[in-house]
Amino acid sequence: MNWSTSLRVFLAHGGRDFLAHKTLTLLNIAALAVGVGAIVAIQTVNETALRSFRASLDLVAGRPDFTVEGQGFRLPESLLPILRADPAVREATPVLQVVASLPAHPGEFLHLVGVDPFSNGELVTYRLEDALKNPADAIAFVSEPDTIALTRRLAERLGLKIGDTLRAVHGGRETTLRVRFLLEPSDDLVGADDHLALADIATVQSRFQLGGQIDRIETILRTASPAEKETVRQSLTERLRPRLPAHARAGSPDRRGREVERMLGAFQLNLTALSLIALVVGMFLVTNTVAANVARRRSEFGLLRALGLGRRALTILIVAESLLLALAGSILGVWAGLEVARRLLGTVASTVTSHYVLLSMRDVTVTPASLIGAVVAGLVAAALAAWWPAREAARVPPVDALQFGHISDRAVARFNRFLLPAVISFAAAGLFSLTALHGGLPQTGFLAALGVLLAAAFTAPLVAHALARVRPARIPAWILARSFFLRGLHRHSLAAAALAVSVGMALGVAIMVHSFRVTVDRWIGESIRADLFIAPSTNLIAGSLEPLDPEAETIATALPGIRAVGSYREIRLFLDGAPAKLAACKLEVLKTCNPLPILSSLPGDPYELCQNGEYAFVSENFSHRRHLKPGDTVSLPTPNGLRPIQVAAVFRDYTTESGLILLDRAIYQKITGDLNLTSLALHLEPGTPVQPLIDSLRAQLRPRGEFLIYSQSALRDEALRIFDRSFAVTELLRTLAIGVAALGVTLSLTALVAERTREIGVLRATGARRGQVLRTIMAEAGYLGATGISLGAITGFVVALVLMRVINRAFFGWTIDWHTPWPLLGSILVFVFLVCLLAGLPPSLRASRLSPAEALRSE
């Protein structure tokens, strides 16, 4: 037979075989679809997040060649002429951004960007619609000092049209703005945040009393050659350095995007790693199905070999056939993945906004390349998974393959051969843990987790075998199930491995999330002692750190029943290229009302040190990541120059992933000149009723804008709500992996029932009732479930150890106290066992309904 004939005949026959075994075929497609779907969903969400973030950056900033921006603090406008005067600069334009709440539209906000329409022409990435399509646009934009341009989508959502007014509040200043233009982003920026609004920079400065201040200067260089640009940037940075304040950062505009991408990297890697588990579990199932197919069609393959088909050709043909199903599964997975991604967008956007950077995603944006990539991943996974059973099938001599009765009478395979790979995988997990913790390669932490899961997969056949050796009571279904299970180990081992991997992953994540939650909850209980908290509403909605109306402090202090008012200021900045948060509060209040959980400190009272000199508290993760201990120094870039601050103490903190430096408010104001506040913490006199105080605060603050007022318990609930939302996607992926593994149980048993048709016929002939056959196959599903669960339970604890003590330490530097959620673990295990039994029901029913006469004729 020549190649094309072989392929045609083979695939035609394969197609008919798929139709004849519809259940197996559908399960195979579904297993791969779930695996590919998980990847597509996570990739799409990740891609959408990054594209949306980049598009928002581009929409605000255009695509300049060079940027000077203030980190943490604004820049003086006086820097603009310096840049404009530089010979390398062709055009320089200022940008000022504020996040403003909209009292008439609770829950919405404006990301208002002040630009100079006369100098930013080359950077414009949006179209001002409904306006004159001529240079007069710019004049119209600045002629009225309340003019803003809204995105069309936000205008539609808020029910605004051209000419309508909009009240906006920022930093305690309320102003009325008029919508005179609608913004339409250029085609490649459609994923951008629709909360963006544009105004003349002077409008933003005057309306919010930010005169003379800007956030950034965007510049276009004179050189157009990309190669030259980098050199010009470097020399320009060198020239500017002596004239720029310490907190100004100059360089390529891509840098901020890259920094944020790096910041999101760990978060996204975590999700990607989890989504890959689903595909790996799917691969186990494909291997299982192909192995079942080749076992069933053994004589057919023997015939093909007898007719002259070579071993390699047969292997390739079997793989090609499984690729047919994989293609269907992958395409279905892409569709399902996109649907899931759409549903996940909101959750992921909120999580990213809470932890990293303001992000708003309305619809998925995904490139064809990444979808094709996912399909290819599915096909490659299927080809790899099919290769081994295909090769095994091709190795059988044609004479043996043509003989009947050989398959089912084969002795139980030797499973000890899996011991060595299991030990090697486990040892590799240990090595990867070391490189993650001490080798400066945090990503290898995920390889350590993979090593543990692989070790579990290799151990599955041994555990299954050991479990099946336990002699059952004299219950016919149990005895037969044990016998069937032992004989089906060649097939069940893969399903048990898939199940153990899924259960291990699910339990590991459950232990980690629970431990983390309990740790954070206890920490909140210990470290948040204030009775009431006040913050601008935009800080919750937009995850920003906008200043609080200073009047709020005056109002709060004047309230009856107040023992102390603690203030809090927080800004984001980059230290040595890595993000961090700088915070300031009244340490005197903190010390008496809400002492910090201190882990280590300089001799003496660290509070006094910080109140009297340039000392700071730093969070545990900040100290861990930057290898700092009490007595070491951090250089803080401030508008008044670089200030060396000595670490007075390290404290436990879970508020930010990037790490926190905490100064006394007076010291902070002295060295930075920033008098703004971000939030207030109110400590009440004992016995003061809380609710009347909240009502009074609300009444007094209402005219001044939208505020968040939390009681202690509400803040705790809010913190835990954000925590739970952050892990919502993780839990979804966990459920998906269990779902795929459950499919594996059905697949394995369906394949075995198909293989054992005649044997079931013999049993029925020997006197087995339908119910007995049903119970036998169900008990076999129970054996399979018990194997996966017992191994998965042990694996779960090891995975949790890696997640908490390796991945978390390497990426985030937090201490997570170990808390085992026994009831949750118990319920997951019971749930998985019930899912296994449920998954075993269809093949059990199928087996019990076989007509004994037909079953006996099947060989």
């Binding site: 016998s483 044997e759 002939a765 007995q772 007509s851 004994p852 006469a853």
Partner: protein, 221 residues
């Protein structure tokens, strides 16, 4: 006693219609050994399945000891198999992970009668078929002839009134075949079991008291 009257069996698959049995009427007395012979596809196995309560006829009647197989439901037929019927297959079909003794006990286990008496019966039978020293062996440790002898013990352990054997020597060499047929006939005569043998082998057929030849679903002689 086994009896059939005008037994028909038709298999319908789509447009294809196969009439496997076309009016079989026969009577087999208790303790009789009958060989059913005939070319492939003549309906031998179909008749065996109906007589073994594994299948039901399309029309006509079949009785075992006066019980009407043709009108019983699946549960009743299973109950009948547990009590009155034993099977021996060409490929032995012992469960490889059970010991020889456990395999023999299987019919008693399935009907809830694997008590001490049952075990003693199984051991006696294994001794009779020459496998007393193989009771704790697994099937893969036995030769083909030994496997079929164990299968014979399994078929008789619950004292069936009818033993049905489908090509019982089809997978054995001539020496083993002779041994198995000797055992089968001697044991069934001793236990007064009716035996129906489906076979292509002249040697096996000769061991029967009577021979029924089927051709195209009809009794030819």
């Amino acid at each position: 006693m086994l009896e059939t009257r005008d037994l028909h069996k038709i298999y319908q698959s789509g447009d294809a219609r196969v009439e496997a049995l076309r009016g079989i009427t026969l009577k087999i007395l208790s303790g009789e050994i009958v060989a059913i012979t005939g070319p492939s596809g003549c309906g031998k196995s179909t008749l065996l399945h109906i007589l073994g309560a594994l299948d039901t006829p399309s029309s006509g009647q079949a009785y075992i000891d006066g019980l009407p197989l043709h009108s019983m439901n699946d549960d009743a037929l299973t109950g009948l198999r547990q009590l009155k019927i034993g099977f021996v297959f060409q490929f032995f079909h012992l469960l490889p992970t059970l010991t020889v003794e456990e395999n023999v006990l299987l019919p008693l286990l399935l009907s809830g009668r694997a008590d001490a008496l049952g075990k003693s019966r199984a051991r006696d039978l294994l001794e009779t078929v020459g496998l007393a020293d193989r009771t704790h062996h697994r099937p893969h440790q036995l030769s083909g002839g030994q496997l079929q002898r164990a299968a014979l013990a399994r078929a008789l352990v619950h004292r069936p009134s009818v033993l049905l054997a489908d090509e019982p020597t089809g997978n054995l060499d001539s020496a083993s075949s002779a041994a198995v047929i000797n055992l089968l006939t001697s044991l069934s005569r001793k236990e007064k079991t009716t035996v129906i043998l489906v076979t292509h082998s002249e040697e096996v057929a000769k061991a029967a008291d009577r021979r029924i030849r089927l051709v195209d679903g009809r009794i030819h002689s």
